[in-house]
Amino acid sequence: MSAFPPVPIVFKVNGTTRRLLTAPRRLLSDVLREDCGLTGVHVGCEHGVCGACTILLDGAPARACLIYAVQARDHEVTTVEAFSAGGELSVVQQALHEEHGLQCGFCTPGIVVTMEAWLNEHPDPTDAEIRDALSGNLCRCTGYHNIVAAVAKAAARRRGGDAT
């Protein structure tokens, strides 16, 4: 038997209370995917570099691979699934779609989650600020131009502008 048995945790994921058993060493990214079925949490590098697994922990973006699931006990986690829960794309997702801001799509969930949080705090960003904010999410397909355009468009729409 392991000297480090699974421990019970209760936490909230996308508004739903979850109770599960997890060994302390399990990454939150793995628990979200494997135990909660939230496969929108993409696992790329597992050491905090690529940004694909970014989720919100109590509303703040965080790498799910740099948090152990036990640390989420009594906290609130939001994954990309929450942003289109009603079947409608979020403003950021819609803008990424329109601007062709993704190709293979692997990095996209991390970008959506990061930008949803970032635009709340930076409603009227410049392109340079958008590029800086995106620097923590590696995309190897698009070359970023279309992602920047999509975020700018989403920012304008969220402000109530018509950005078409």
Partner: protein, 292 residues
């Protein structure tokens, strides 16, 4: 990229953390934001038996002014430090440096205490703590002690913290009236650790001469270093237009730079000259009493 097994606890009080640390001995590691430790665990560069999580100690997440110092809790996140009105007003160099760390999601999670205790030789916060003469308040079941930043960093990833100790708070003297500051770093990609970073503050007297200069360099050796003593008598004459060029060249020529595999020392010496000049120019431009 999965960590080895460990036991985990998250005490609700400082007392609880200190007792756990004292009981656990060498095999335990404290975890706060985990932005440096978790990658090391995931890559199994570190394999502690036990993680003691301090994220529940919300008292350590506060910034307050106490007389002529700012008291900054060890759990203050980089993003919070960069946005803090108190920090921006009273320790603008520190707030600015925090804004340059990693990426948005990293800054939301990473902590001041974690960065200082991790002691990466190229990290921003150890450099700025040294430049600003910060004091580290350190707790254990044995009591509280304060260590000056100058004495805190021993070597790469190594500090004076004992296994049973927790860095709880950093106190930083607030910027004096009219003090200018500069912070410059060079890296190859946004969010990477700096190859070289420079922090400077300076104050000018009513005669325009430099009354006080602090200059610190990171990325050149195992710990950040203060180098203003290498600059001969900055206050003896009115700075000329070439002052920052001269001072930065003297600093770059005389400072010891450790060779490493990744970036030649000669290149980093050029970076020291260039970044120091820019940081000094920034500081001069921000200082009261600038005449030019």
């Amino acid at each position: 990229m999965k960590p080895a097994r460990f036991a985990y606890e998250a005490p609700a009080t400082l007392e609880g953390v200190l007792q756990s640390l004292a009981a656990a001995g060498q095999g335990a590691k404290l975890i706060a934001g985990g932005q440096s430790l978790a990658p090391m665990l995931n890559m199994r560069l570190a394999r502690p038996d036990r993680l003691i999580d301090i994220n529940a100690l919300s008292d350590l997440g506060e910034i307050r002014r106490a007389g002529d110092r700012l008291e900054i809790g060890a759990l203050v996140r980089h993003d919070g430090l960069g946005r803090s009105e108190l920090a921006r007003r009273h320790c603008p160099l520190l707030a600015r440096a925090a804004e340059t760390i990693g990426h948005y999601a990293i800054r939301k999670r990473g902590t001041l205490g974690g960065s200082l205790a991790h002691a990466d030789p190229a990290a921003q916060l150890p450099l700025v703590a040294l430049a600003l003469d910060a004091e580290m308040d350190i707790c254990s079941v044995r009591g509280l002690r304060s260590v000056a930043a100058r004495d805190f960093f021993l070597s790469i990833f190594s500090t004076v913290l004992e296994p049973d100790e927790l860095l709880v708070r950093v106190t930083v003297p607030i910027a004096s009236a009219g003090e200018g500051w500069g912070f410059r770093l060079f890296n190859r990609r946004a969010g990477d650790f700096a190859i070289v970073a420079v922090a400077a503050t300076l104050s000018r007297g009513s005669d325009g001469k430099i009354a006080r200069l602090r200059l610190a360099l990171g990325g050149i050796g195992p710990v950040p270093v203060r180098v203003e003593h290498l600059v001969p008598n900055p206050g003896t004459e009115q700075p000329s237009p070439h002052w920052s060029t001269q001072v930065s060249q003297i600093a770059a020529d005389s400072v010891e730079i450790e060779e490493n595999d990744r970036t030649p020392a000669a290149f980093r010496r050029e970076l020291v000259a260039a970044l120091t000049r820019e940081a000094l120019d920034d500081a001069m431009g921000r200082a009261a009493g600038a005449t030019s």
